[in-house]
């Protein structure tokens, strides 16, 4: 009886589910008994605890976060501006279409190698997360704007509602709704692509460099620990940015 009541509580259920997978992970790692292939959650936590007091751990997090955030924010702003302009001017939409199709279709690895030759490794993750996020924000800005109710726009035109009031009350609500969903995808993608770029470019003091080193030295516990750090950072960024977006 008590267990069934506990299971009805969503939070308790979530904790139990996470606990189940952690135990399964631990059991599997013990069964394989090979730290190179699969380390258990205990070893990962120990490895993470060992990383925490080191200066390079925090510096790597700081530099990678700044670069990826820069790439994301600049792509978000430019994507929104271009999306709005393309919604207004059809010729611009047609002009940008081939470039955006190219950005969506080319594999991230090709971009990374090209960018590495062109701009070098220090700014690589900025550039790559920018390229990945730009088409997502651009497309969703146009979708959000086209979701504005035609009948409300007609009402606004009859009553001669000012441009800024139209933007604030008619265009912004559906745009915000669309961008909130898009940002969840885009933020995750910016972290994945940014870190992937760092692993290939190996810039100094970056999470990618640490992952690369873990690979070279076959240090699987460190690899797992850094992966957890990336997941946490990505979640923090998503939470922060969506909170900011809600206040606009």
């Amino acid at each position: 009886m008590k267990i069934s009541i506990m299971f009805k509580n969503k939070r308790v259920r979530q904790i139990l589910i996470i606990g189940f997978w952690l135990i399964l992970w631990e059991l599997l790692s013990r069964l394989l008994h090979n730290q190179l292939i699969l380390v258990g959650p205990t070893e990962v936590l120990l490895s993470l605890a060992a990383l925490l007091p080191t200066g390079s751990f925090w510096l790597s997090i700081l530099f990678s976060s700044i670069k990826i955030a820069l790439g994301f924010i600049s792509a978000f702003l430019l994507g929104m501006i271009l999306g709005c302009l393309s919604f207004r001017f059809h010729w611009l939409k047609e002009l940008l279409e081939p470039i955006l199709l190219l950005l969506k279709s080319i594999p991230v690895a090709s971009f990374v190698i090209l960018a590495l030759i062109m701009i070098g490794s220090p700014g690589l993750s900025i550039f790559i997360s920018f390229l990945i996020v730009l088409p997502i924000i651009y497309t969703n800005t146009m979708t959000g704007l086209s979701n504005t109710e035609e009948k409300l726009l007609e009402m606004a035109s009859v009553f001669r509602v000012s441009f800024w009031k139209k933007v604030r009350f008619l265009y912004l609500p559906p745009l915000k709704l669309q961008l909130e969903t898009a940002c969840k995808t885009a933020l995750g993608m910016s972290w994945k692509s940014g870190i992937a770029a760092e692993v290939i470019g190996v810039p100094n003091m970056s999470i990618g460099e640490k992952l690369y080193m873990a690979k070279i030295y076959l240090n699987t516990p460190d690899l797992f620990a850094w992966t957890i750090v990336i997941l946490i950072l990505s979640a923090i960024f998503e939470w922060l940015f969506l909170k900011l977006l809600k206040h606009i």
Partner: protein, 191 residues
């Protein structure tokens, strides 16, 4: 001030809705547009306020640029905002929030004024749409079935409010009930 329609025609996908319609509406007067469903009442309003263009004929006015306000068939309000904000969207800056609230309280229960519109009944939304059209700066007021969804009591209160607010304007409204024309002392025009 007048609004003159000459030989106006409008068709949708080959189906003629308005055929060679001519009339001159002049101020200050209220006109009740009557006719069966699908006879072109809504189309006529859309042609007058410029939302649609006639296939043939012309819509002229004196002065040339008249200001319109409309009570649409479907209210067209922003459900996430309250009644006051919906009206402030279309009113000039000189009309204060207090003035708007005073107008709203003439046709709506005062306790409802702070609620978002999504919590309003159909009849209450209709009254907000009417108040919005009457407070916006306009020379011509077009109302597409304004009394839809109103009970007899609120119909009388709203009619009195409309009469009070449109004394110097051209008012056109559509309805299926002849009694509505009496409520607004209107001249009946059949489509």
């Amino acid at each position: 001030m007048y609004l003159k329609l000459s030989h106006v025609q409008k068709a949708y996908s080959g189906k003629e809705v308005l055929k060679d319609y001519s009339f001159c509406f002049s101020s200050p007067k209220t006109y009740c547009i009557m006719g069966p469903s699908g006879c072109g009442k809504t189309t006529l309003f859309h042609l007058i306020c410029g939302l649609e263009k006639p296939d043939a004929g012309s819509v002229e006015s004196s002065p040339e640029k008249l200001r319109f306000s409309v009570v649409f068939q479907e209210d067209r309000l922003l459900e996430s905002l309250d009644a006051l904000k919906n009206i402030q969207l279309v009113t000039p800056k000189e009309v204060t929030g207090e003035q708007i609230l005073a107008h709203l309280s003439r046709i709506l229960p005062p306790e409802s004024l702070s609620q978002p519109l999504r919590e309003f009944s159909g009849g209450m939304k209709r009254r907000v749409a009417i108040c919005r059209a009457l407070l916006a700066a306009s020379d011509v007021v077009l109302m597409d079935e304004p009394f839809n969804g109103l009970d007899p009591d609120s119909r009388d209160t709203t009619a009195a409010y409309i009469r009070d607010m449109t004394r110097d304007k051209i008012v056109l409204f559509s309805t299926h009930q002849e009694s509505d024309a009496d409520l607004l002392d209107a001249t009946i025009c059949t489509l």
